[in-house]
Amino acid sequence: MVEVRGITKRYGPHVAVNDVGFSIGKGEIVGFLGPNGAGKSTTMNILTGYLSTTEGEVTIDGMPILEYPEDIKRKLGYLPENPPLYVDMTVTEYLKFVAQIKGVAKKTVPSRIAEVLETVKITDVRKRLIKNLSKGYKQRVGLAQALIGDPEILIFDEPTSGLDPKQIIEIRDLIRKLGENHTVILSSHILHEVSAICRRVMIMNLGRIVADGNPDTLAIQHSPTGQLIVTVLGEGEKARATLADVAGVTRVTDRATEETGAVEFVLDTDGDVRPKVFEAMSSAKLTLIQMRVNTMSLEELFLQLTSGEQEVPA
């Protein structure tokens, strides 16, 4: 549905987005995760046709965005980092204006506004001037604005930033619900937010996508290959010797365990040695009670992928 091929955005010598490519299918909920200046907003601005690329192309349903801007923009609802609000208008006036420019059929505008107000739960403030609303409510008006044209694809840039914890939870629930019948692309700095809402996460750093996958399995895929954690009942010395003899095991290190009567080792290995370890243990009559690949958490992965390097000044 959304195809991004090799997009690069340069500001003079500074590269904000560097050769980014991905494709997003219908109904996916995808999160862009990355530190400040990673290029998340720039990527979203390109996806929505607000910015053009220096190189590369975005197509939506097979249509390049620059050739069919109007057809594509009709399919998109966008909540930018700063909600684009005309603060001198009331909520209803504003949404009416947005409905008109999004091409909502005239006679359905009032019902559409009522529906969206209900969805984002701001019906009670609909007659208030936007400038007098709290930050959380302004954000909701921003969401309403993205929804009003009934687009298939929703793009939210940091939808929960600056909100209080209660609002954050409500907005997340709302996005999850919207994800049931929309394609949703959102961005965030917050890891557990992305892993709570999205079934797919793309980690961005310095303009590149450095990891892309399911938040539950992504960390495993990126874990250092070849470390195995083995827990054995009983005699430590014998177990260690047996493990060291297994072909493909290059190093055996002790590891603390809470299991009583058991010892635990970290094996540095060459390739997948799990079957061999299992056989060696059983022929040595040792009881193997646990064996797992050493993984990092998503948190650790995120820090590893994005640490060390600071935002490159523009």
Partner: protein, 287 residues
């Protein structure tokens, strides 16, 4: 376009800006009407417009300063530009809103004409001509202001530059008389223009090849013209300035003469500036 127009028109009166413009305009107009027509009991109403032309210098920057600059500052341009409407529709809607505020204000002054008509001998043809000319001139100035508000991000800068742009147009006829007419200065002027265009291309594309191509084509054109039609460079500066000379063309209107070519000129001038405004906004995405 209609939605943008309506919102913009309304926003003029949701903020003090619309009222400030109207108040200022009517204050100056009223003052000059009182001193020019009312007190001397003069029925020469068309002259009134000649007297208040300078009103544009102050009023237009006020009218157009936040038209497009504020959209950028408040980031609401992200809403407009990611909606299924054309940039030309946005610009036209905004322009027409500013123009309408101007027309509404000017409509109040029709009262003056009626007053003159009741108490004296109003030269109807002259008056209509003067109104038409004044409106067309306003259309041109507002298009310049619209363009400048698209290239600035701050309303104060926008107003400031608009004022100076209009002042320049004001003084153009004076400048025209002092620019050199000889071949050398014509050539220098052409060369500077080519370089300026090259720089513009480079700033927009950040592509040396495109810029070099523009430079070569420009230099080629200048050289070719030099050998084929040298006289082209004589007075080229004055010709270019003449193209921008809006006020010189106003005179005939207040005499009640309706010159079709002048109407076309004013309309084209406005169209060019609105076109440039659209281009600036479209091109910014490529920056």
């Amino acid at each position: 376009m209609i939605a943008v127009f309506k919102r913009e028109l309304k926003s003029y009166f949701l903020t003090p800006l619309g009222y400030t413009f109207m108040g200022l305009f009517l204050l100056i107009a009223g003052f000059f009407f009182s001193y020019g027509n009312l007190l001397p009991r003069s029925p020469r109403y068309a002259q009134f417009f000649g007297n208040i032309l300078f009103i544009y210098l102050i009023a237009v920057p006020l009218l157009t300063m936040r038209l497009l600059s504020d959209e950028r500052r408040l980031k609401t341009d992200q809403l407009l530009l990611t909606s299924p409407i054309k940039v030309s529709g946005i610009v036209l809607g905004k322009y027409l809103a500013a123009f309408s505020v101007f027309l509404i204000t000017l409509a109040v002054t029709v009262m003056y004409a009626v007053l003159v008509g009741i108490h004296g001998d109003l030269a109807v043809a002259e008056t209509i001509g003067a109104y038409l000319g004044f409106v067309l001139l306003g259309a041109c100035f507002i298009s310049v202001g619209t363009f400048i508000s698209a290239v600035t991000e701050n309303q104060v800068t926008s107003a400031f530059f608009t004022f100076f742009a209009l002042l320049f147009i004001w003084l153009i006829d004076l400048v025209r008389q002092i620019v050199p007419m000889d071949l050398t200065s014509g050539l220098i002027f052409a060369a500077v223009a080519v370089v300026a265009i090259t720089v513009y291309f480079y700033m927009n594309t950040r592509n040396l090849v495109v810029a070099a191509a523009a430079l070569l084509i420009g230099a080629g054109a200048v050289t070719a013209t030099f050998f084929l039609r040298q006289e082209f460079f004589l007075g080229i500066m004055s010709d270019v300035l003449d193209w921008l000379s809006l006020l010189a063309r106003f005179g005939s209107f207040s005499l009640g003469i309706l010159e079709f070519s002048t109407v076309v000129y004013y309309v084209s001038f406005t169209t060019v500036f609105l076109y440039l405004t659209v281009q600036v906004i479209e091109k910014r995405r490529w920056a």
